[in-house]
Symmetry: C2
Subunit: 246 residues, 2 copies
């Protein structure tokens, strides 16, 4: 038996997210079917984390077990030949049998791209949140600093409480304009609650628009109540950049 680790890029626009579900095509399902055509047997693909419909990944990680003996480079080429062009496998690696893409993840990095100018973008329309209003970047950066550290992020969680609790550690969070035309938010942490990055960005944008202050943002975290926070940023600006393991 072999355990195979994949690093995967995908454009989420045409998928109902990562995880298999009955309403439409998902990235996990399309990958599992392509892998099964290579291995000759059904596989269960374990992803590092779920992504919502419309969310993208530059470096999603997944693993599966197989008895097939296809060499790794042939597997990589064959898989990319079978997959639709909006899913690309960057690497195929054999890892120890106990490697688990979800439980073994020690950290994740996400990027959220905002397009802050009067007109939307034709080229980047599926890869950013277009905000035509002015944003106070200094206020957003001040609020962002309050995210760093090990905290209870209940205020930014999705509708349902998580079985693993709501405490996570944020290692780094910052805004940058180094990748024009975007204002990009990069955040790294031990893990993220469902919808957490989108809820954080939506709430920080309200700070940027002057609807709340950096002090309000600190109070929102302390409230540990989803109702205290702002809107959920739309999915198409979000990218899972990478997943780190020991």
């Amino acid at each position: 038996m072999r355990n195979i680790k994949l690093v995967i890029e995908y454009e989420g626009t045409n998928y109902c997210g990562w995880q298999i579900q009955p309403n439409g095509p998902t990235v996990q399902q399309v990958l599992q079917e392509a892998i099964a055509r290579m291995t000759g047997h059904p596989v269960h693909l374990i992803g590092a984390g779920r992504t919502d419909a419309g969310v993208h990944a530059l470096g999603q990680v997944a693993n599966f077990h197989t008895s097939c003996r296809i060499p790794l480079e042939g597997f990589w080429r064959g898989l990319n030949g079978l997959l639709p062009k909006d899913i690309v496998v960057h690497s195929v690696e054999e890892v120890p049998l106990d490697f688990h893409a979800q439980f073994g993840a020690k950290g994740k990095t996400y990027r959220y791209q905002i397009l802050n100018r009067p007109s939307p973008s034709a080229i980047h329309r599926n890869h950013c949140w277009h905000i035509p209003h002015p944003l106070d970047r200094a206020a957003m950066e001040e609020a962002t600093r309050a995210l760093i550290g090990r905290k209870d992020f209940s205020s930014f969680q999705g509708a349902d409480p998580e079985p693993t609790g709501s405490v996570r550690e944020i290692f780094q969070a910052e805004w940058s304009t180094e990748d024009p035309p975007f204002l990009s938010f990069t955040i790294s942490g031990s893990g993220f609650l469902k919808h957490m990055v989108r809820n954080v960005v939506g709430t920080l944008v309200e700070v940027g628009r002057g609807k709340s202050s950096p002090e309000d943002f600190i109070r929102i975290i302390a409230a540990k109540d989803r109702r205290a926070a702002g809107m959920t940023a739309p999915p198409q600006g979000l990218f899972l950049v990478k997943v780190d393991y020991e």
Copy 2:
């Protein structure tokens, strides 16, 4: 009568190029129809230059004449509301009656994006040419310098000779990796022959792959013969960045 100048961004993927033609939808046609719905009368839209099927624009320029009195900001908002999301009007400006987007253009800038790594990109698949082979960037840069100046570029023209001859002036041409993950080629000139940028890039990539040398590239220009040059780079890597006027 008013003369209206538009600056337009579009994703060329779903269009048969800029110019109206019978085989399928074009950017000019979609824009003309949206403008006519605003003005209440048919218009003829003059573009700064044609772009091929699959080629994109960040700053295409076009103008049209109209008797309608819609204020410019309302026109801009209304037009973007009517247009599909892969065509965006960035600005609407009233210009002197003799302004002509094609004949008045004094210079154009194009960018060509290459993705030079083993795997293709899911996210950027419609915005670059994926080249998995190593490229000798120093050789490509040496060859590129031979483009600068006022020259006969017959070797890089499309199949048919142009009515305006084949002499053009190239102001600037350079390669950059400042916009990751791309290796980008930016070229500015007084004007460009049909397919010229794609033919130049295709020929420079052959230099990069070691199939020809920078000296060969100089001889290719001097030959003034399309058969001397290399392949035509695919359309999806090309962007019309901007058009300059006096």
